[in-house]
């Protein structure tokens, strides 16, 4: 592990200024991802700027009915928050389906969104990886890629974004509040993560040194009828091999509004707009849900080992929406 310095900034402005001045500095939140990657030599910052003491740990109800979640709110606190449980069950479920109790106690909102891919080649400095070392190649493209992307990948990178939280936030049209050297701005969650394209090492649309300060959820009464389904290789403590966040608003049996997002299929949380279009305005049926999923997955290009993700994602789309329609989320 490379020797590094540690700094605790007094406020947001100082944190951003330090990152601007120190090209190899990184923010440290819960450290559950960053510190692992430092031990593995995958990330090698020379300065850690600890954001956990900044006043970013509040969950506040907004006048318009939305919710503002501080960047350092631990995943477990957020999942247990009464408003989240009541108004955004999809979010509470996504959080509780992730990692383990111990990890959720320290993992933060901001850190969760910016966690790195779990691609096994990315985590092994002995192997080619364009994301870790631009230009070195992508070992996963023709290697072991069962867990990787089926949508929107490039020859340069076929990784997926591993976060469950991000998938729920994508469905909820969350907005990320960031501070950059140039000032504060809002970034829609759907625009936070990039497609891998030619530059898989650039994972987000944020400027280097940008600090996430909060995530804002718009008021969305329909989200009271929402759910998150996650499929994994063991009952607990495993990343998704398929997941879906769903919000369903029915008028009688007609779909008035719907939000769908997929996890484990792409380099970013995958908002399923096409499927939503297919569903909106039509009487709901499981067959319609299946058609919607098919529309969304029509452009999927499975890799050698992950063709199963298509029937899987389709199946959980149907199940999630059907359960919401019937009022029986499992």
């Amino acid at each position: 592990m490379r020797p590094f310095r540690y700094h605790r900034p007094a406020d947001v402005a100082e944190a951003v200024a330090v990152l601007a001045a120190e090209p190899q500095a990184a923010y440290l939140a819960g450290g559950t991802n960053l510190v692992d990657l430092m031990k593995l030599g995958v990330q090698r910052p020379d300065l850690l700027v600890d954001v956990t003491r900044l006043p970013l740990d509040a969950v506040a109800e907004l006048p318009d009915g939305g919710l503002r979640i501080g960047a350092t709110v631990p995943n477990s606190d957020l999942a247990a928050h009464p408003v989240v449980r009541r108004d955004y069950p999809v979010l509470a479920r996504a959080l509780l389906a992730a990692a383990s109790g111990q990890l959720r106690n320290v993992a933060t909102t901001g850190g969760n969104l910016l966690q790195r891919t779990r691609c096994v080649y990315f985590q092994d400095t002995g192997k080619a990886c364009n994301k870790r070392e631009p230009g070195s190649g992508c070992a996963a493209r023709h290697g072991q890629n069962r867990d990787l992307a089926v949508l929107d990948w490039s020859e340069q990178c076929v990784a997926t974004h591993p976060s469950d939280l991000a998938v729920a936030l994508a469905a909820l049209d969350a907005v990320v509040e960031v501070h950059e050297a140039g000032g504060a701005r809002d970034v829609p969650l759907a625009a936070l993560h990039r497609s891998p394209g030619e530059h898989p090492e650039r994972e987000t649309t944020l400027a280097r040194g940008a600090l996430i300060t909060a995530v804002r959820l718009p008021a969305l009464p329909a989200a009271r009828r929402s759910t998150y389904l996650k499929v994994r290789d063991r009952a607990s403590f495993a990343f998704a091999v398929g997941s879906v966040a769903a919000v369903l608003d029915l008028d009688g049996d007609v779909v008035r509004d719907v939000r769908l997002a997929y996890g484990a299929v792409a380099h970013r949380p995958w908002r399923a707009y096409r499927a939503e279009d297919e569903l909106r305005g039509r009487p709901f049926s499981p067959e319609l849900a299946a058609r919607a999923a098919d529309a969304e997955l029509a452009e999927a290009r499975p890799l050698r080992h992950n063709g199963f993700k298509l029937p899987l994602t389709r199946a959980i789309t149907v199940r999630a929406l059907t359960e919401l329609a019937e009022g029986t989320p499992s």
């Binding site: 020797p3 031990k39 092994d124 290697g143 069962r146 063991r234 607990s236 990343f239 199963f308 149907v318």
Partner: protein, 699 residues
């Protein structure tokens, strides 16, 4: 032995120390002036090291030395070439340790390891086991010393003539032992003597290996392994960590602590070989087996021949007039496979007990009844009667407890909402062996006793079991007995492995206690006020002179699974095992061993798989986030029971060993239950949802 402690449920003697963190493991002993070693793995699969550039590492503050083939102390070429470390500029597999960086801090050692520059001249390699590999050969014997192939009757003719036949090939992947505590050592040289605190399953054998490698008299090597955080076979012999630590400590002339990382446990310490197993069974129409053939393929390395005895299970399990078993190996450019809980029996039983289930379907017979019908009174392999064989009793008792009786054999007949439900059964057996051991018992003036034996408690409860056995053999309450284990200065004892720890050690403990009582009987004045009386024994002659008889423990595994009809997710609703394993010394720790083995069987069936990338020649999922091991949430209800079994042909304590039998057959029972639930037979473990979905079997 007087009745008393044996058979009663005592908590582990060291339980409190362990849960409070007071128990010390190999790299936790406080040592003055200690330094830290970090092992450097080879970055190519096969080739020669052309240059080692230590300078960048040595330039790092805190780095004391870079030990490699060019400067390491010379080792005698022992019998296991995996241990002949840092002696030659040759790489035999990716990840083989080629250097150690020693530093004054762990962090500096780790960073130093990254900075060592090693150039290789890499050659072509082959790392994937296939059934048509050009390198397949017939080893001279399989582990530990079984004949490679066996044949009775005429399998081909018997098979051809039978009215019912099944022929299937089963595959198991590489499995990695992953004990909680990694292989780890603190090594110190003092006046030419080597002291190691090491995590292993047998300090006597590690002592002997180190003495050989470093060409020292065995008295000059002391190995302490007081608490060991698991091994599952992988610490059965000395492994790389202890040799590297000793080499490094010699180089820097100060104590060195070296622990392998989790990633480094995936290969260099051994693993369960992948297997490809073809099983053919033939029966008459009432289910009596007429022909059995089991052909097993597994891999070994270019360094050392490790020939897993995969088909040996089939030789003694069920009777039939025509029988054949074969083993073939391939030498690949991979780390040498090694023992993992029930080596041979475990993968072999997966294949045979799955095949029996397929045969039951083919004959139209209940799978419990099929096994009962083919029970053997005489060992089909050796021709002698078993000293005790309670397979049928286990099957019957298990069926009763599990509620097997009304089972509808039709696959995919039970459904509960989105879940398809199925049940499965498998037989289980494991040899009951013992090895010679020594032990000493001492009477103290205060009425207390001390029993010493270099047994190892790898988390099993062995220390507590020996204490109970000793108390009964001495005829005193256990509170008066102190037990000391885990140190090569104690009387020599065999490894905790092969389910023969308790049988071997208790034998010596009983004899030592008997010898002490005899001495005390002959000492009318008793124990001198300022002294003690000691008896030390070896069971070498007695164990060696025991007649060779077929001695086995048996079991029956019952499982109910549910399979999600849309996603293919498999969950185990309940699992129940009944075992016949001789006398049970401590029900608490015995139950832990049995349900631990069964849980590991769930893991084998559903979760674990070393995923190899043939281009890099190593397992890419080399950590516990990606190499999934069954967690608590996967084990909803699990029960282990045993039947009362007395067998006078075993050993003084009457035990058969319970460390391994719990895993044998478990994976087959699950695979059989998945078939019953879904109608789909997955013959390649692990049974993951993508295989069920991929077959579109559930649609």
């Amino acid at each position: 032995m007087s009745a008393g402690a044996v058979g009663r449920a005592y908590p582990r003697l060291e339980g409190r120390e362990k849960v409070t963190g007071a128990a010390r493991y190999a790299v936790e002993y406080p040592v003055d002036d200690v330094s830290y070693g970090w092992a450097v793995p080879a970055a190519v699969v096969r080739g020669r090291i052309t240059r080692v550039d230590a300078a960048p590492a040595l330039a790092l503050p805190g780095v004391l030395a870079v030990v490699h083939h060019g400067n390491a102390a010379r080792l005698a070429p022992g019998s296991d070439r995996e241990l002949w470390l840092l002696q030659e500029p040759v790489v035999h597999y990716r990840g083989q340790f080629v250097a150690v960086v020693v530093a004054t801090s762990l962090e500096a050692a780790r960073e130093g390891a990254r900075l060592v520059g090693i150039d290789y001249d890499a050659g072509p390699h082959s790392t994937v086991l296939t059934s048509d590999h050009p390198g397949l050969y017939r080893p001279d014997h399989v582990n530990p010393s079984y004949p490679t192939d066996t044949a009775e009757g005429d399998f081909d003719a018997g098979y051809a003539a039978a009215p019912v036949r099944m022929d299937a090939t089963y595959r198991t992947p590489a499995y990695h032992n992953n004990p909680m505590e990694p292989h780890a050592t603190t090594a110190q040289w003092r006046d030419g003597r080597l002291l190691v605190h090491d995590s292993n399953q047998g300090a006597s054998s590690v002592q002997a290996t180190l003495a050989d490698l470093f060409e020292l008299p065995s008295e000059s090597v002391r190995v302490i392994a007081e608490h060991v955080g698991g091994g599952f076979g992988s610490k059965g012999y000395a492994k790389a960590a202890v040799v590297l630590a000793a080499l490094a400590a010699r180089q820097v002339d100060r104590p060195v602590r070296l622990a392998l990382t989790r990633q480094q446990l995936f290969g260099p310490i051994g693993y369960r070989t992948p297997t490809i197993q073809r099983v053919r069974l033939a029966a008459d129409t009432d289910g009596r087996l007429t022909a059995i053939c089991h052909d097993a393929i597994s891999q070994t390395s270019t360094l050392h021949e490790f020939a897993e005895q995969t088909a040996v299970y089939t030789r003694s399990m069920y009777a039939a007039p025509h029988r054949r078993t074969t083993h073939r190996l391939v030498r690949l450019d991979v780390p040498t496979p090694f023992w993992m809980r029930a080596p041979g029996e475990c993968p072999g039983a997966y294949a045979l007990e799955s095949a029996m289930d397929e045969l039951a379907t083919a004959v139209g017979m209940d799978p419990v009844e099929l096994r009962v019908r083919n029970d053997a009174e005489v060992d089909p392999d050796q021709g002698q009667p078993f000293t005790s064989r309670n397979l049928v009793a286990c099957l019957r008792e298990g069926a009763r407890r599990f509620g097997w009786a009304d089972r509808d054999p039709t696959p995919r007949a039970r459904r509960d909402g989105r879940w398809l439900i199925g049940t499965g059964v498998a037989g289980s057996s494991y040899p009951a062996r013992a090895r010679p051991s020594s032990a000493a018992a001492t009477a103290r003036a205060d009425g207390g006793f001390l029993v010493r034996i270099n047994a190892t408690d790898i988390g099993t409860g062995a220390r507590t079991a020996m204490w109970q056995v000793a108390a009964d053999a001495l005829g005193v309450p256990p509170e008066r007995v102190e037990i000391r284990i885990g140190d090569s200065d104690l009387p020599v004892a065999p490894v905790a492995g092969g389910s023969m720890g308790t049988s071997s050690w208790s034998w010596a403990v009983v004899r030592a206690c008997e010898a002490l009582r005899e001495k005390l009987r002959n000492a009318p004045d008793g124990v001198p006020a300022d002294g003690e009386v000691t008896a030390e024994v070896s069971t070498e002659e007695e164990v060696g002179g025991q007649p060779m008889l077929p001695r086995y423990a048996y079991g029956a595994q019952f499982v109910e699974v549910r399979v999600d009809v849309d996603t293919g997710e498999v969950r185990v609703n309940r699992m129940l095992g009944v075992f016949a394993a001789g006398r049970v010394v401590n029900p608490t720790t015995a139950r832990s061993q049995l349900i631990g083995g069964m849980t590991m069987g769930i893991s084998m069936a559903l979760h674990e798989e070393g995923v190899l990338d043939e281009r890099y020649g190593d397992w890419v999922n080399h950590d516990l986030a990606t190499y999934h091991i069954t967690g608590c949430a996967d084990v909803e209800r699990i029960e282990a029971h045993w039947i009362d079994e007395q067998d006078a042909e075993l050993n003084p304590a009457g035990v058969k060993g319970i460390g391994e039998i719990g895993i044998v057959g478990a994976a087959a029972a699950i695979a059989n239950a998945v078939h019953h639930a879904t109608g789909v037979r997955i013959r390649e473990l692990p049974i993951r949802l993508d295989k069920l979905l991929g077959l579109s079997a559930l649609a």
